[in-house]
């Protein structure tokens, strides 16, 4: 019995070795390989910055005004212009530009002044959201007008101030077909 077990074990080992040899034979068959270069995935860009550090003020006749020293009188109408540089890169890029409005500190009598909300234009035309990449940076112009109304009576609002504080602009990507 003991010999029989030994023989069986030896046979099993022999069969296993034979199988291993057979596996070695498989490696010897044809094989081939190929590699692909999927390339580099590059992200696009989205940004909005002030084109110039300070916007410009002009009077009713289009003449430049230094707002730090200029003193308005009833009938004055000043226009603030700030160019924004919008960068949009991406095949499915689209973004809306908007303003967060004016949060001014108004020392004038509200009825005596007329301040427009910021108006965004591209060239001469109102901005058409969403903006899409054009291959180069785009210029969006923000315009605000401040009018000291000529209906102001007596000596109302002499030596008054109207602080615009900060006027914010946001550029927000919007989803497109093929994005989620």
């Amino acid at each position: 019995m003991k010999n029989s077990t030994l023989i069986k074990g030896t046979a099993a080992i022999a069969v296993g070795a034979a199988l291993l040899l057979g596996g070695g034979g498989t490696l010897a068959n044809w094989n081939a390989s190929a590699s692909q270069a999927p390339g580099t995935i590059a992200a696009g860009d989205l940004n909005v910055v002030n084109a110039t550090s300070n916007g410009t003020w002009t009077d009713r006749n289009g003449q430049p005004v230094t707002i730090g020293t200029y003193k308005v009188v009833p009938g004055d109408k000043l226009t603030y212009t700030q160019d924004l540089t919008v960068t949009l890169v991406g095949d499915k890029m689209a973004a809306n530009i908007a303003t967060t409005g004016i949060s001014a500190t108004n020392g004038f009598t509200p009825a005596n002044v007329s301040v427009s909300a910021p108006v965004l234009t591209v060239g001469e035309d109102p901005v058409s959201n969403p903006l899409k990449p054009t291959g180069s940076a785009q210029t969006v112009t923000a315009t605000i007008t401040f009018e000291f109304l000529s209906s102001t009576a007596a000596r109302s609002d002499v030596n008054a101030t109207y602080n615009f504080n900060n006027v914010g602009f946001t550029l927000t990507q919007v989803t497109q077909s093929g994005l989620s």
Partner: protein, 202 residues
């Protein structure tokens, strides 16, 4: 049954909330950028009109610091006698610090006379006025005229410029001796008004 319905409702709500949250998160996950501009502070000008009387030499702003109108005394140097006149004037200067154009006109209203100490001199005194370039012209007798109902209106006075109003008080040759030594207070209201600089009118 009730438990089952509750569970179904809860599951529905949970699914809706999850869907909502996923939607919101998706929106925020997209890119955004912001920029801000600081347009600065717009300041209004002062509306200061300086008055200088001749011959008294009194100088004042038309509007006092407390917002009240100033009173300016001209005080003619000479005294009146029947058939003669005394003269005085006031130089009005547009002293605004406006950044742009700021033209004004100054109007002298009709004089109001009041007898002093119960006298009767006022009825024999007439007041005339004229606009002039310098106070020296006030003692020249020509071109004085009574002040009309709309007052005497100056030419436009530009920023930093000035105009002069001259006044002449004359005593009638017919004044009786009873008014001798009497005095009369003559009040002339002066008004400065900004001229409209807006194209198309104000």
């Amino acid at each position: 049954m009730r438990t089952k319905r509750s569970l179904q409702a809860a599951a529905l709500i949970a699914a809706a909330v999850l869907l909502g949250l996923l939607t919101v998160q998706g929106t925020y996950a997209l890119w955004s950028a912001s920029a801000s501009a600081a347009p600065g502070t717009v300041a209004s000008a002062s509306f200061d009109v300086a008055l200088s009387a001749v011959p008294s030499g009194q100088v004042t702003n038309m509007t006092l610091a407390n917002g009240q109108s100033a009173n300016l005394a001209i005080n003619p140097a000479a005294t009146l006698s029947p058939g003669t006149s005394v003269y005085g004037g006031v130089a009005v200067t547009n002293n605004t610090n406006a950044g742009g154009t700021f033209n004004t006109t100054v109007t002298a209203g009709q004089p109001v006379m009041a007898n002093v100490s119960g006298g009767s001199l006022a009825q024999y005194v007439t007041v005339s006025a004229k606009a002039a370039a310098t106070a020296a012209e006030c003692s020249a007798t020509g071109s004085y005229a009574p002040v009309g109902s709309s007052g005497l209106v100056s030419q436009p006075v530009a920023k930093g410029g000035s105009t002069v109003f001259c006044f002449q008080a004359s005593l009638s040759p017919a004044a009786p001796t009873t008014v001798k030594g009497q005095a009369v207070n003559i009040t002339l209201p002066l008004t400065a008004r900004q001229l409209c600089g807006v194209p198309g009118g104000c």
